[in-house]
Amino acid sequence: MMLTQILVSGLGLALPLLIAAVGELVSERAGVLNLSLEAMMLTGAFTAVTGTVLTGSAWLGAACGLCGGLLVGLAQTLLSVRLRADQIVVGVAANALALAATTFGARLLLDGDRGVTGFERLPIPVLADVPVIGPVLFAQTALGYLCAGVVLVTGLLLGPRTGWGLRIDATGEDAGAADWTGLPVRRIRALCILLTSALAGLGGAQLALSEVHAFSDNMTAGIGYLAVVAVIAGRWRTPGTVVAAVAFGVAQALQYALPAAGVGLPPAVLTMIPYLVAIVAVSGLAGASRAPSCLTVPFARA
């Protein structure tokens, strides 16, 4: 029972992280590191809740969440692809901006009314009754199923064995060569960032509308960073990224599950766990593989 509980809340937290990480994987394969993933998710969560409050529709809210993520993605594209700004600096600053701006916006737009009904869980009949697996996998909200579907479709369409995937990989491995081959390097990168940001925005919406049912200041609290780390720990491959994302999600869920189970660790220790796991994961595993050669290197011809 305890295990099921941890897994249920673990996957609950893992799903937003997972969809963001799968998106980030696409961007990084194309050579762009979006540290701003945190900003995309937080903005997504904020616009999703605001949209839901304003329109009264959770679906319109989710759409707002996606657009909120896209907004950050547009900024990242303009800065890192068009203006060739340092991707790391832009990412760190965008996160700070999103944190401050959503806090500011919440004071202005949401004060006193931060809770939303959001999405209800929709257990799939029969499947949801399977012990352990059932409640973990088949009792998501409608938005949760959508997110899972999006993860699957992204993985299939942009995998390294498709034409699109191949061109994305070429852009990240050797942007110069890709350009000489006639690939529109900057457009590919821009589209990848926009895709990433849309997915991250959706992840933020999922977190706010399906899990927390509210917006609170800094509610992503580092999930976006963990999603970036999941890509590194997953060695820039989809299966590894998925495993790492779920592991980080479960590590996050321990914060709530262990005290509930009566394990007497100080909460601060539990807060640290996902980040310690992440540090070990990137230093232990990343050494064995290679990042895309052009990761974080802006492209300019000649």
Binding site: R82, L108, I279
Partner: protein, 350 residues
């Protein structure tokens, strides 16, 4: 060529600050405070009273230390995003020393010991990332960033656990914070009347000057720069990349740690959650703004420090969320990053 570049860089820094401030005014207007009210509240919070000025100077000292450390590591080609965590490590170490010293410790002994502990702890904290970089090739950006979260949680742990640094729990009202540091560990005041300004600003000025001279006018500084610009060529010319990187990043962390020490040894002289107030990030902004010039670094630190104090007053007086200042800070970085290619005199992208 060179002068054109520095002109452009100054133009960019000035322009970015100006545009971000205007955006801040607009945001304040959104929150219902007209420009006159906003500027008035800001100005009063920044420099309206000796108290405000003193507070701002203390903050500026911390920002200068974090920023100067960032600049040093940046010279060696490293990006230290871990100011926040290093502040935490420094603050914890300073508290541990400052609360265990005998009550009668003279300031001449207590203050240096406390600050030395902070300096060392910050350095060791950053050394974790440095060693992982050199040994395992893990990006120092990722590790210093993740270590921020660990550091912040560590502070929470320290002030919540009575067995660690929490003050003796006497009732359910006891706040989760450390006991105050002994008097001998408090930073001496500058002695200006009614001003809380401490010697921190002097310490920071000295540290910044030393870093400036070392990085520009000594062989070690040039070797650091060579490593940052071209690791392979530097190695060919006898610079040992691994040890040099560890020293550079640890030194950056040590200066940030010292900043953390200054924070907890200034009134009310105790460790509490959130004591870093985001200065780790603001220090990074200062380092980026300065672009390697220690003069610019001092100016940027003063500007941000005064803005921060002003922002707090803005919330109190005009009801504008103090996060406005954080928005202005991050806008400044984004604007500078956006124009970096132009400022470096490179060809613009078509």
């Amino acid at each position: 060529m060179r002068s054109m570049r520095s002109t452009r860089r100054a133009l960019v820094a000035g322009g970015a600050v100006l545009v971000a401030l205007l955006a801040g005014l607009a945001l304040a207007a959104l929150a219902g405070a007209g420009p006159a009210t906003t500027i008035g509240a800001l100005a009063e919070g920044m420099a309206g009273t000796p108290y405000a000025i003193g507070k701002s100077l203390n903050t500026a000292a911390v920002l200068m230390l974090v920023g100067a450390g960032f600049s040093l590591a940046h010279r060696a080609g490293l990006v230290n995003v871990g100011g926040e965590g290093q502040l935490c490590a420094g603050g914890i170490a300073a508290t541990a020393v400052g609360t265990t010293l005998p009550a009668a410790t003279p300031a001449l002994v207590g203050v240096p010991l406390t600050l030395l502990a902070a300096f060392t702890a910050g350095g060791l904290w950053a050394a974790i990332a440095a060693v992982l970089l050199v040994r395992r090739g893990t990006s120092e950006i990722i590790t210093t960033l993740l270590l921020n979260f660990v550091g912040l949680a560590l502070v929470t742990l320290m002030v919540h656990e009575p067995t660690l640094l929490r003050q003796p729990v006497t009732s359910s009202e006891t706040l989760p914070q450390s006991a105050p540091l002994v008097d001998g560990a408090h930073l001496p005041l500058l002695g200006v009347e009614r001003s809380p300004a401490t010697v921190a600003i002097l310490l920071a000025l000295i540290a910044t000057a030393v870093i400036g001279v070392v990085s520009r006018h000594t062989p070690a500084g040039l070797r650091l720069r060579a490593l940052g610009q071209s690791p392979a060529a530097a190695a060919r010319l006898g610079v040992r990349a691994g040890p040099t990187r560890v020293v550079a990043l640890s030194t950056a962390g040590a200066f940030a740690g010292l900043g953390g020490g200054l924070l907890v040894s200034t009134a009310p002289a105790l460790l509490a959650e959130g004591f870093t107030s985001g200065f780790g990030f603001a220090g990074l902004v200062v380092g980026l703004l300065a672009g390697g010039s220690m003069l610019a670094l001092t100016a940027a630190a003063l500007l941000l420090a005064f803005l921060t104090s002003g922002g707090i007053n803005l919330q109190l007086v005009a009801g504008v969320p103090s996060t406005t200042v954080a928005i202005i800070q991050s806008l400044i970085i984004l604007l500078i990053a956006a124009t970096a290619t132009w400022a470096a005199g490179k060809k613009a992208t078509r």
